[in-house]
Symmetry: C2
Subunit: 335 residues, 2 copies
């Protein structure tokens, strides 16, 4: 399983939309006769790749796979069936498939008389595809809310200017985090005021080849010349103000697993009030403004006992000298 | 000089009001014949202690001392005269005395025919008594402004409650920083609203033996039952709203070198606007309030280009789990 987990985590395999999976085929003496991993949507699943690698040696082998073999036909056929047809004798699975459409592989294998063991190193396998697992289990994408603020909690000066509250190293770091998500989300007001591109760009400000879906939520129309409507990446306007409706739509209709929320204080407050923020990333800039736009809007909290507490996961200084910013990563839950 | 600096830095010697000084007496072969360090106001100066240690061996010796020997009679006699009378042949000095009242020791020694070398490892000697040196050179105490804030820059909730924005490890750390200063400073409004004790307390909330002077500035009278007027530590009411007047008074009339500013947003803003904050210590609590009291008042900044930038010196996580706070230490200048 160690090797299967390692294969699944092969660098440069996209995290979205499909889960990362690794598979190793072993003979009776525990020797590897084939291995494979999934390389992204539309390419063979890990089990099929491993079976192809093993050829005839797959007959009678044990398949060790990080995720329950799929039971449905998508762009590729069902892996459970492929394992049966190849004559595999035993299957060891780490994570059970949280996707109800694809699940059932273990039952299919067992019905075919194959011995199945599930749950070995399941936590590590879940962590490989954390937001994918979360989205399937919870019916909505995992939400990372990112904001940059001064020491006194301002995201822009009194006249609305905000370039730049965060330093260049912090902004580059933000693009790294954006790239790990499959969805950028802002409100119509941010589009109207800031007109952001919301693309993932490299150090030379050039867009990367793979871009998250750019989503604007809110009932107002978008200006036709909004940067978000350019052809640098796909975009979507969800005509709702309800965070849960937006998230469920993104999961159900657009197969989204990880939303990077970069909206203004009002949108952020709406998500916080709804309990729909799963991770908070704050870039603290060592500067003071005194007045200006607050980083977060009204949360309905009037007394200190009701403050929204977060658990600090990481504190990292990015950049140095005049460019030093502090990135704080937090979650609402302790575990 | 290494040894003299080490002696000066002997633990448990108070940093206030007198500078920490070390002195080593060497014979012609470089052997130590006596050494001494200052142990606090009213006790012998380092040179006198070293001369006493050496006895007759001081005659013809070289005195290595971290600070220019004093030239005035305070609670103890002038050290320059003591060195001359002991028959010292040569004096090596690190830092020149920035105190105009006590300075002139080098000139007095030279006038008596003693060879003097000054400036060796002066930077290290200055660092031994950084705020004392600052106060003498600038005519006002060094000012450390400390505040605790939520991620969104609030120092209290909408109803004024603020116990506790900072966690217990952060509050204990604040007492450690208070103990390194000689003056606590707040405004009359903080006394009226929060009624703080402003004492330095240990982990059992018991006051330490040595307390900074508690100072309130502002024109309003203090409530007679204010905690700050109790007998746990001396206190002082400066009837001015002008930060520079307050600081100059503290230096001139009360021999203060290091002010720990813990006032509210208005007082902090007044010091910032006057350019009279030399160090900022912020305890960032990973919590959100949405609304509430701002950590800092209006600074007259309306656009991002005019933001007050600080240089990050240190970022440290204090405590863990639900008690994790992040301490950021910053200065307005890069050097």
């Amino acid at each position: 399983m160690q090797r299967a987990l390692h294969l699944a985590a092969t660098p440069d395999v996209p995290h979205h939309p499909n889960p990362r999976v690794g598979c190793v085929l072993l003979d009776d003496d525990g020797r590897t006769v084939g291995e494979g991993h999934h390389r992204g949507a539309g390419t063979p699943h890990a089990e099929v790749a491993a079976l192809a690698d093993a050829g005839e040696a797959a007959r009678g082998a044990t398949a060790v796979v990080t995720l329950e073999p799929c039971n449905h036909t998508g762009r590729t056929g069902p892996c459970a069936q492929a394992l049966i047809e190849a004559g595999v004798r035993r299957v060891v699975v780490a994570q059970r498939d949280p996707n109800p459409v694809a699940a059932g592989g273990v039952a299919t294998l067992e019905a075919a008389g194959i011995e199945v063991e599930a749950g070995l190193r399941a936590a590590e396998a879940r962590a490989l595809n954390a937001s994918w697992t979360f989205a399937h289990e919870r019916g909505r994408p995992y939400v990372t809310w990112k904001f940059a603020a001064t020491l006194d909690g301002r995201s822009a000066a009194a006249d609305g200017t905000s370039r730049w509250v965060s330093s260049r190293p912090a902004r580059l770091d933000t693009h790294r985090l954006r790239a790990a998500c499959d969805t950028m989300l802002v409100g119509t007001n941010t589009v109207a005021v800031d007109d952001p591109r919301l693309t993932v760009r490299d150090e030379q400000d050039q867009p990367l080849a793979t871009q998250p879906l750019r989503v604007v939520m809110g009932e107002r129309d978008l200006p036709a010349d909004s940067a978000i409507l350019d052809d640098a990446a796909p975009s979507l306007h969800l005509r709702t103000r309800d965070p849960l409706v937006a998230l469920q739509t993104l999961r159900r209709d657009h197969d989204r697993h990880h939303v990077f929320l970069e909206g203004g204080p009002t949108l952020a407050a709406a998500f916080l009030r709804a309990g729909l923020v799963d991770e908070v990333v704050t870039y603290v800039a060592p500067m003071l403004l005194g007045t200006g736009r607050n980083a977060v809007g009204d949360l309905g909290i009037t007394t200190i006992a009701d403050a929204r507490h977060l658990y600090l996961r990481d504190a990292t200084v990015l950049g140095s000298g005049a460019e030093a910013n502090v990135r704080l990563t937090m979650t609402p839950e302790e575990t």
